[in-house]
Homo-oligomer: 358 residues x 2
């Protein structure tokens, strides 16, 4: 079992990673949270049907009362209504400040469950039990949120979990589309901080359906370490944390305009990465974009913006992003692989490059 | 102009207190928040009709764009719907992380506006501009929240403002009922921490309609200092901050069962103080309760639980309080004036004392 310590200015907590780490949950709870009396597992319909039974059994072993609340799948979990329903359920079932939330699922479940934990009675503890590859990104760093029709993750908080139990065997049940979504964030982490890791990915990962446990362990460990090093420096996104947004400026716009849940986060981010790499080349990056495109296409990614989206709408959407602080859109670009920087790019160049590449 | 520094583990900020402090707002913004481009004033209907014009004018002097959003009065501002509407307004008007919220009003406005600030794009800065005496309590300490039908302040956060501008002249426009509500928290602060201050209040304040500016200045300064000393030690209510809850266990239950907005917070808290003092006497406090009752009655407080509330419902309601962590209700009692302690009291005694006193 690997254990990675995440240090942020507001909190320090462990990420347990490996096969069977979930078995350690009861002892961890008993040992560190003797004052907690109730556990509320928040999960989604699909994940619950596969993993809830086991997790409930393990949670109950801690001797605490275990409750469950099931939310819709994917981004449909991240609405104001679902947020309110979770709060109502918690209140109706007598949760209080001696209760804890367990977020069992992918990024969306972690986001809404974490935001419920952050705000229920002004904050109760929560633990992330990620079930997707994407969660190597979302479960670490304390970003929790729900969506507003005007934009993704618009209402939320920075609220760190008590711990993350990353059970690798859960990944075996993931549909390939979900794997592909999560792997895009792995690629992103490599691009912004670790040329070696990027080379390793390019060489080692040729088929997403054939990733070995050893490869998973390595890539998740590297991904989390990269994210942790950035979050440690900048928990609340005032500085370097913005680099994690590589590929997300255009990615979020694509995802949003397609309608949340209709296009996976990672697949949209991958298109955003392609675009950010192209912009970076325009600014002087020396990078083999052709090799990159061939590789990601061979992994099943689309590298094109969906046809129904026009470039002007994309620009408008990007201007509404919460990292956008002026009328000019800010992108994360690369000087070299591993060396990101923020750059404000004017609309004309954005449009020209959009037309050139897509 | 008085300036009191509030120090919490997460933040340090000033409370400016006195006549004309509000005039200092533009310079303060210009000097300390040059990167902020938009200000959103959140206020309620009544306060806006009296003070919005002036505050808007002052805010605009900072050179930033000024927007306003008006919420309903009192606890009606603290609903999920209003919270959502504020967020929607902010998004529709292009607020972003370079925007700031100004909460102009009493405790309710501060609570909802603060919670909007705490969660909009995961947190933007806000400034409290309190207009009530009650706000000497609510505007300091970073508790922000909205209500749930199941209980007051159930959904919220600990989120500190950038500053508090406490304009004393705003108090001149306060209805006596509102003054009475706020003065109850002044009494509470004296009782839990400062016997001298309690004596001063008992001697000096005989008519709420005739409080002088000098008296206001003194009592608010003392009240804030007491609250600040507690919040400094315990920002997130894990320990001594619970003492601030003196009078609130029964008070919140009375307020809740009467329907939020139908009975002022402070008037309910005062009844809770009477009851907590009685329980404290039962536990050994030597205190002239008769003198206290006469004094507060002469100030216009009711010291009786409203007739329509039965004692069993009150006990049930108290058990749902978010500070209640077991089946036994926890009260803040006094050993002496100035020396509070937490005590779990069983239902039988609670009921017996309720019947004896009311």
């Amino acid at each position: 079992m690997e254990s990675i310590d995440i240090k942020t200015p507001s909190k320090e907590y462990p990420v347990f990673l490996g096969q069977h780490v979930i078995e350690q949950l009861p002892l961890f709870l008993e040992k560190n949270y003797s004052d907690i009396t109730k556990l509320l597992i928040i999960s989604d319909e699909k994940v619950a049907s596969i993993h809830l039974h086991k997790v409930k059994e393990l949670a109950a072993k801690s001797g605490k009362q275990v409750l469950e609340y099931i939310v819709p799948e994917g981004e449909h979990a991240k609405t104001f209504d679902v947020f309110y329903q979770c709060q109502s359920f918690a209140l109706a079932n007598g949760l209080n400040r001696k209760s804890m939330i367990l977020a069992l699922g992918g990024g969306a479940v972690g986001d809404v469950a974490g935001f419920v934990a952050a705000t229920f009675m002004r904050g109760i503890p929560f633990i992330q039990l990620p079930t997707t590859l994407l969660a190597h990104d979302s479960a670490v760093g304390g970003k929790v949120a729900i969506n507003h029709p005007e934009g993704k993750n618009m209402i939320g908080a920075f609220y760190q979990p008590e711990a993350v139990f990353y059970e690798l065997s859960f990944l075996h049940t993931l549909p390939i589309k979900e794997l592909r979504s999560g792997f895009a964030e792995v690629i992103k982490h490599a691009l912004i901080q670790d040329p070696e890791f990027y080379k390793w990915l390019l060489t080692e990962i040729q088929d997403l359906a054939a990733i070995t446990d050893e490869q998973y362990l390595y890539m998740i460990k590297r991904g989390i370490a990269i994210k942790a090093s950035i979050v440690k420096e900048d928990e609340k996104e005032n500085g370097v944390r913005a680099y994690l947004n590589f590929g997300h400026t255009l990615g979020h716009a694509v995802e949003g305009l397609m309608g949340y849940g209709n296009f996976t986060h990672g697949e949209a981010v991958l298109i955003g990465c392609v675009y950010a790499l192209k912009l970076s080349q325009y600014k002087g990056l020396s990078f083999d974009l052709v090799e990159f495109m061939e590789w990601v296409q061979s992994l099943g990614y689309s590298t094109n913006i969906p046809k129904q989206l026009d470039h002007t709408s994309l620009i408008q959407k990007m201007k509404k992003d919460k990292k956008t602080i002026s009328d000019t859109i800010t992108f994360v670009l690369l000087n070299e692989v591993g060396f990101p920087e923020l750059a404000e790019i004017n609309d004309e160049i954005i449009l020209k490059q959009l037309e050139e590449i897509f």
